[in-house]
């Protein structure tokens, strides 16, 4: 299944993934749930949120440098 994702402020990327949930996607991308908050369509979602073909996920970085 293809999904699109980006880290807020960064470029959109397309990934072919076996992940069924946002949490699984984060694990496969190596994004720690302590360091990124997932959102879909401008709304925050939990890691259990299910992915569908074409879902677009924006990860909001928790850690601000400074």
């Amino acid at each position: 299944m293809k999904v699109r994702w980006r880290v807020l402020g960064g470029e959109w990327q397309e990934t072919d993934t076996e992940a069924k949930t946002v949490g699984e996607l984060m694990a496969s991308l190596g994004l720690s749930a302590e360091e990124y908050l997932p959102s879909i369509g401008g709304k925050l979602v939990t890691e259990d949120e299910e992915l569908k073909e074409g879902t677009e996920v924006t990860f909001i970085p928790v850690v601000s440098g400074g």
């Binding site: 720690s32 360091e35 908050l37 709304k43 890691e47 949120e49 928790v62 601000s64 440098g65």
Partner: protein, 310 residues
């Protein structure tokens, strides 16, 4: 899909360390309840206060300002002002200052901006260069932190602050504690806590951390839900600091063992208390600048002498 533990609507956040999840509305309610509990528990404010909030334009301090301003509407004896220290970090602070001004104006908060350049005699960018030329062993964050804390106290006092609020959260405090342990800096460890400073000393403004018991992640949720999550910019020096690596390790542990950060915080409170009882550094005044200090010459004046500035 996870549902809100309170109302059953779709959750936007799950707090693994307590096994609960929340929708936006109930997240904000839960957030507010916890911060108010922290404020009460540590007696952070009285009924009459001139509160100065230390801001950088980053999400933590904006959240602290947003929260305090909102709370102050219910307390007639409180006035709120903001104080921003401009360290002089090109490409970074100039951006966050803009975010800060926009919010301060929108929320109707008066503010003051104090710069390293005017008060210390050089921008942080210059200080870092001078430090490297002089062969000093310090990281940019060391200069930044020492001079920022120094100026915050001085300027807050001049503004007539009865209390200074900072945006430090659970993660910040846990990181600082671990850093002090790893660097064997017991003296600084003893000064950690939700209400800090060289307590009761003349010239020192009491400093409180209202988000002491809130994980950094939840401060982000608060700022996103309230619509002021700032543009993402990173300090060019951030990745050079010890904190950058440490925080990642602590986050890995928290993810695997939810609740770890709270346990470290509990240890911190007990240990700092025990060290304070045993040591108790006597408060003094810096013989060079007259600001409160634990040593004869304060750390800011010591660094200024080493850098040949001011």
């Amino acid at each position: 899909m996870v549902s809100c533990s309170v109302c059953g609507k779709p959750a936007i956040y799950s707090a693994k360390y307590e096994g609960k999840a929340y929708c936006g509305e109930h997240f904000l309610e839960w957030f507010d309840r916890r911060v108010r509990k922290t404020i009460r528990k540590y007696r952070m404010f009285g009924s009459k206060e001139h509160i100065v909030v230390a801001v950088s334009g980053g999400k933590d301090s904006l959240a602290a300002l947003h929260y305090v301003k909102k709370l102050s509407k219910r307390v007639p004896g409180w006035t709120v002002e903001a104080l921003l220290i401009d360290e002089g970090i090109r490409g970074y602070r100039d951006v966050t200052v803009k975010d800060f001004k926009r919010c301060a104006e929108e929320w109707g908060v008066p503010y003051r901006i104090v710069s390293f350049k005017e008060e210390i005699g050089a921008t942080l960018d210059d200080i870092v260069k001078k430090g490297a030329e002089a062969g000093l062993p310090y990281q940019p964050c060391t200069y930044c932190g020492v001079f920022r804390r120094y100026l915050l106290n001085k300027a807050a006092r001049e503004m007539g602050a009865t209390v200074l609020v900072t945006g430090h959260n659970l993660d910040d405090e846990v990181q600082t504690f671990m850093m002090n342990i790893m660097r064997h800096d017991v003296e600084r460890l003893a000064r950690l806590g939700p209400v800090t400073g060289i307590s009761g000393q003349e010239g020192f403004v009491r400093r409180v951390k209202i988000f002491y018991e809130v994980p950094e992640k939840e401060v982000v949720v608060y700022s996103v839900l309230n619509g002021f999550f700032p543009e993402f910019v990173e300090c060019p020096y951030a990745r050079l600091g010890f904190r950058w690596d440490l925080r990642h390790y602590i986050n890995l542990l928290e993810e695997k063992y939810p609740g770890t950060k709270y346990m470290i915080l509990k240890s911190l409170l007990d240990i700092a208390e025990a060290v304070r009882k045993g040591k108790g550094g006597t408060p003094k005044r810096c013989t060079v600048c007259g600001e409160p200090s634990t040593k004869d010459v304060c750390r800011a004046c010591e660094l200024k002498a080493l850098l040949g500035i001011g």
